[in-house]
């Protein structure tokens, strides 16, 4: 019976396959700050993902014999400086021509978890809230007295 539910239209998409089995929970348990890896989140539109060199700075020694870390270090060594291709988990389709920005939300004290769920305890990052939903943006903007002018998001 459970199978019948799969594919139901308002279900969130499953997390996309990632090139390395990266686990947030392992890193958060080791008290690594979100901003250490998502450096832009306080000042930029994009949260950003860490450069391979940033992962490698820890993983030359940390868990160096873990199979996923070995795989990662091999890709890093043989990648000719090409960045890791992480797949997007949260996507606002470009066809909506919307410009989401992290910095105003972090400045206003909106918690990451409000929009992303408790990523820190996930082994695989996945969508908990449907972020590609204008109604959801506007509900909160009305509640928190943020701008609901179309051009704030659409330009």
């Amino acid at each position: 019976m459970a199978l019948v539910m799969v594919g139901c239209s308002d279900e969130l998409p499953p997390p996309p396959p990632q090139p390395i089995a990266f686990s947030h929970s392992v890193h958060i348990e080791n008290e690594i700050e979100c901003t250490r890896c998502h450096e832009g989140v306080e000042t930029q539109a994009q949260a950003g993902l860490p450069a391979m060199a940033a992962c490698a700075s820890c993983h030359r020694r940390q868990a160096a014999d873990h199979p996923e870390v070995v795989k990662f270090m091999e890709q890093y060594a043989n990648g000719n400086g090409e960045p890791m291709v992480w797949r997007k988990v949260h996507v606002i389709p470009t066809s909506a021509m919307v410009h989401f920005k992290h910095s105003p939300h972090v400045r206003a004290g909106v918690d990451c978890a409000t929009c992303h769920g408790d990523v820190g305890s996930m082994t695989v990052a996945q969508q908990v809230v449907d972020v590609a939903n204008m109604g959801w943006c506007l509900d909160c903007h009305r509640e928190q007295d943020a701008s609901i002018d179309c051009m704030t998001c659409h330009h």
């Binding site: 000042t43 909506a96 021509m97 919307v98 400045r107 179309c150 051009m151 659409h154 330009h155």
Partner: protein, 227 residues
């Protein structure tokens, strides 16, 4: 309140076209090629018009950069059947691309002909696609577009000011055209701030508006003559 405005000093303008080029680069404006441009399908949110005064050989050329006038009473707005264009609280004439269904009524009703229709899907020849501005949407075919007063730069400056817990300073926001003008002919700022440079220029006797008799209440001011 804030009301964004621009003053263009036509006595300073040399017609070099740097503003138009900067505008293309900043705002991901497509180029349509020679043939389509000849059919009137070229898209330049900022264009330079030439006027000749006098009779040869005693002619003087005057240049006038023309962009969306961000009208207070915009003729383009009431004719849109889907409310895709409207006036923002900060005095910009906004264009919501996602909402636009491409009737082109707005462009027909714009006395300044500063609205441009995307007849084609945008194509940027390699490697130009790598220099697209991520803060500006790339508009698809079938959508109207026009000058936004570089709203992305306005929003960025407002965000930096909010982070530093202060107001936006006069002169802090430069539109791409004003930044690139070698003659510093273009001044951008808040017309409602009496201390701002643009408001100061707007109070001089050199101030004129394009097609003033139409009562469109433009936010773009042209400065001319006077000493």
């Amino acid at each position: 309140m804030t009301r964004w405005g621009m003053a263009i000093d036509t006595d300073r303008c040399t017609g070099c076209g740097a503003c138009a080029v900067a505008c293309h680069a900043e705002n991901n404006i497509q180029t349509v090629g020679e043939v389509e441009a000849a059919r009137g399908r070229a898209m330049h949110w900022m264009r330079i018009e030439r006027y000749y005064e006098g009779v040869f050989p005693d002619v003087k050329v005057r240049f006038q950069p023309v962009l969306c006038q961000q009208c207070g009473h915009a003729p383009c707005e009431p004719v849109c059947p889907v409310y895709a264009t409207y006036r923002t609280p900060e005095g910009l004439n906004a264009m919501v691309y996602a909402r636009c269904i491409g009737t082109r009524y707005c462009a027909n009703n714009c006395p300044y002909t500063t609205r441009y229709f995307n007849w084609f899907a945008p194509e940027f020849d390699a490697p130009l696609e790598r220099q697209l501005n991520p803060s500006v949407s790339v508009r698809p075919a079938g959508v109207m577009e026009k000058c936004t007063f570089c709203v992305q730069r306005i929003q960025d400056a407002q965000e930096v000011a909010a982070q530093e817990e202060r107001e936006v300073r006069d002169g802090e926001i430069k539109t791409a055209c004003s930044q690139s003008c070698p003659a510093q002919a273009i001044t951008f700022g808040d017309l409602d701030d009496p201390e701002s440079l643009v408001a100061l220029l707007a109070r001089t006797e050199r101030t004129t508006h394009l097609l003033e008799d139409l009562s469109t209440e433009p936010s773009v001011i042209y400065l001319r003559g006077g000493r």
